[in-house]
């Protein structure tokens, strides 16, 4: 790494050098050339773009979104040395709370206040693996999700989908 390039600091506004029109023209050319190089060497993978196209199926105005209100990656104090700590997530949609705990062994969670629900673990626009809660609203799954993740809950005639995140 060439660290001498990293010393830009936060005072970039302070250097009063204005590019001359000729120089600005040269820089624009360089930028354009770089843009073309990027299109060749690091384009959006076609398979990914296709997945994004298919994601239109996730557009659903009838379901409620349960917003992510707690994520241990962001909100919890890091515990020194505790690298295998489970990821804890909490989602809220009105009065409904969904707590989720992810470990390498799988997923478990609870819908609160306790209620029965049918749950799908989503990883994309396709239907996810189905789970059912017990009477206390608890659910488990013995495969651990990886990648894009959301839960779709059907309970009491309503559909709730959690915010998408990467796990």
């Amino acid at each position: 790494m060439s660290d001498m390039d990293d010393d830009l600091g936060d005072d970039v506004l302070d250097f009063g050098e204005q590019a001359l029109p000729d120089e600005e023209f040269a820089l624009e050319l360089l930028e354009e050339e770089l843009r073309q190089a990027t299109a060749i060497l690091d384009p959006v993978p076609v398979a990914l773009r296709q997945i994004a196209m298919e994601a239109f199926a996730l557009h659903d105005l009838d379901s409620r979104i349960a917003e992510l209100s707690f994520d241990s990656v962001v909100d919890a104090l890091p515990v020194r040395g505790a690298t295998g700590a489970p990821r804890m997530l909490t989602f809220h949609a009105g009065e409904v709370t969904v707590d989720v705990e992810l470990t390498p062994q799988g997923l478990m969670g609870q819908v609160l206040p306790p209620r029965s629900a049918r749950i799908e673990v989503l990883s994309g626009p396709q239907a996810g693996s189905p789970l059912t809660t017990d009477d206390m609203g608890r659910f488990t799954c013995d495969t651990s999700p990886a990648g894009p993740f959301a839960l779709r809950l059907r309970t009491g005639g309503q559909v709730i989908v959690t915010d998408w995140l990467t796990v």
Binding site: D3, D10, T38, A39, R49, I51, A55, G147, D163, T166
Partner: protein, 212 residues
């Protein structure tokens, strides 16, 4: 305005890295049409804004696998929130800042910076058949492709902030400073001077290499 005359079938033929100019007003209109169920409008949004999302993800130096996952998460969330985005004409900034936050979270979750000085990247032209591929393959273009490699190499060796900023500015079409600001969490006013300085550095590197 492109949005009005949107041909529902023509988008497959458009090279997605070029030409898919979608300006702010268009974005707002396309989001509105997509909310109303117009799949072609959604397709146009994906075509037009994928390079921006990809650029933000790439700028954050995730592993390839993480980059792919974050890109998907961003689009899934965009589809999910489509009808609830308060300012549809700012969807570009919404995507850029969602991508940034998701990248930072993944990096934080790893508790270490992933090294992605991927040596394969230089040799990896796209796995997909693109017009660029044939361009690279052709004998006559050999000299030019050499130049492209130099350029990319020197770009990769810039300091982190320059590399990050330039990677985002290199999305096609070129993002506005509002989007760059959302993608990097830096003030709009600092982008111009920073861009100039970074491009100058890149040019100096190329000159030192005798490649200007």
């Amino acid at each position: 305005m492109r949005a009005g005359a949107l041909p529902s079938t023509a988008y497959d033929d458009l090279p997605y890295t070029r030409g898919g100019t979608v300006d702010r007003a268009d974005v707002g209109a396309l989001v509105q049409s997509a909310v109303d169920g117009d799949a072609a409008a959604w397709k146009a949004l994906v075509e037009g804004l994928s390079p921006l999302v990809w650029a933000v993800v790439r700028a954050h130096r995730l592993s390839d696998a993480d980059a792919h996952e974050v890109y998907q998460t961003v689009w899934f969330r965009f589809a999910q929130h489509l009808g609830r985005i308060r300012e549809p004409d700012k969807a570009k900034s919404w995507l850029a800042s969602t991508a940034r936050h998701e990248c930072l979270k993944v990096l934080k979750g790893l508790r270490r910076l992933t090294v992605t000085d991927d040596p394969q990247l230089l040799d990896r032209i796209s796995e997909d058949r693109t017009p660029e591929q044939s361009f690279i393959d052709s004998e006559e273009a050999a000299a030019q492709s050499e130049r492209v490699r130099y350029l990319w190499q020197e770009f990769e060796e810039l300091g982190e902030r320059c590399r990050q900023l330039l990677r985002i500015l290199m999305a096609s079409p070129k993002p506005g400073y509002q989007e760059v600001s959302a993608a990097l969490g830096i003030a709009v006013g600092s982008i111009g001077p920073l861009r100039q300085r970074c491009l100058r550095r890149l040019r100096a590197r190329l000159e030192a290499r005798g490649a200007v």
